[in-house]
Symmetry: C2
Subunit: 271 residues, 2 copies
């Protein structure tokens, strides 16, 4: 889950969106997409068999902060015109995680061995969209500053159950001074399709996080004196829910390695 | 500075805005205006001699969060049509504070003895406007719940100096759970003319407040387990600045006893 070395990123950032997507499609790049294709919406993915899709659709409807739905494919189709005409969602992600019966099975860069004609793909908003807005407003996003994957934690915040899906919310954490946290709350409130405003700040134990220095996903970042941790709902939540709900197959993106769409981040902002 | 007893408030709240204003004008009511005339904008006041007015106008321009300017009168006039045709600002406030050479001199309910023909009145937005919005969104405002004047504190947050005016910001404090604080930040951001978003939350010492239980103005309120203090810029800031700047005369409202205008709170909201 490490983001790519700076040298590689610099090279990647000179590529056009089409060139970058091609590089990912042929598995010439399998790293983090953090900071790549600036301005373009990156998405979390959940793929489920059609007979599990209605339950998950309802789960997204009941948990829009953790699972902000951008789009849903037809069963068996890896295409979704509304996010980009040339996108093949089964090939255009640097790395996928494959789960069988709720258990993590394998990481792959190509889904050809696991694809099924009944798979429905859910495309969900991602906090990368608001990180860009935070930086453009002059705030420092610690995980980006430190070149690390964002810190993510299992919590005891229960999601609203839907059909066979239930479980707790996963959150991402970014530390800020109170003054910057207030500004970050204002900015991220404009991005409801990218998890929107934080769900908590301050005491980690209040939401069931025992050790802020040991994230369940991603990497730890420094929290400096005078800063408070600020927590946003995270698109890894479905992966936590799937472990408990045990669908026969589920495929997701690997954390930090997103689908880059043709949509603009700013097209998703409100206010 | 105690707000009026509940029995009196209930009676006052049955009055029309015109009736309430008349009661205040004849000094039949000299208490807090918190919770009175719901929906109508209440204002902080600063009155200064004309030869100090330009400096204060610049101070408001440089410190719009503490001093959100609604309007300014012509020298010697207690009227300002844009806030209400029938308002006499020199009579329609329950209690005024009069300062000579930066020193508090007296509290009065009638300005006839202190009025000067060169006085310019600055009408400034007040947090009562956003308290109403917080309550309408289902949040509990502790000072209102506990029937106390809001807690206000001198801080070490320096205002931008302007001409002869300089000094530190005064803040008001309301405790919330982090979840409600996030919502309160969203709501108050919509009211830039009523101090807008908070300037700080959490550790009081970070902004120079030594003892959260001993406010410099108003009254202490309970802060319960799991709550954090949230601090907004306060319209008492000018009174702090005046103590240091020592104009020959300055008249303000008494904290908590505001000018009730004909403007609607919601007319001041943005977004």
């Amino acid at each position: 889950m490490l983001i790519s070395g700076e040298k590689e990123s610099v090279t990647l950032q000179t590529l056009s969106l089409a060139e970058l997507r091609q590089k990912i499609r042929v598995n010439a790049y399998t790293g983090s997409t953090s900071g790549l294709a600036p301005g373009y919406l990156q998405a979390n993915l959940v793929m489920l068999p059609a007979d599990w899709a209605n339950d998950f659709l309802l789960f997204c409807q009941k948990n829009p902060v953790a699972c902000p739905l951008i789009g849903v494919t037809e069963p068996g189709s890896p295409f979704l015109a509304e996010i980009g005409a040339d996108i093949d969602i089964s090939r255009d992600v640097p790395e996928y995680h494959v789960f069988y019966n709720g258990q993590f099975e394998t990481s792959v860069s190509d889904l050809s061995e696991h694809w099924r004609d009944d798979l429905v793909i859910f495309v969900l908003g991602c906090s990368f969209s608001f990180e860009e807005a935070l930086i453009q407003s002059g705030l420092t996003v610690r995980n980006i500053e430190q070149g690390r994957n964002v810190s993510m934690y299992d919590t005891q915040i229960a999601c609203q159950p839907a059909g066979r899906f239930s479980g707790n919310m996963v959150v991402s954490m970014r530390p800020f001074t109170p003054k910057d946290a207030i500004r970050a709350i204002q900015i991220t409130s404009r991005y409801p399709k990218a998890h929107g405003a934080p769900v908590h700040f301050g005491d980690p134990t209040a939401i069931g996080i025992r050790d802020i220095n040991t994230p369940n996903y991603g990497e730890a970042v420094d929290i400096f004196d005078g800063e408070v941790p600020v927590f946003w709902a995270c698109g890894v939540t479905p992966q936590n829910v799937i472990r408990q709900s045990k669908p026969p197959i589920c495929i997701t993106h690997a954390p930090g390695k997103m689908l880059i769409t043709d949509l603009l981040n700013n097209a998703l902002s409100v206010l």
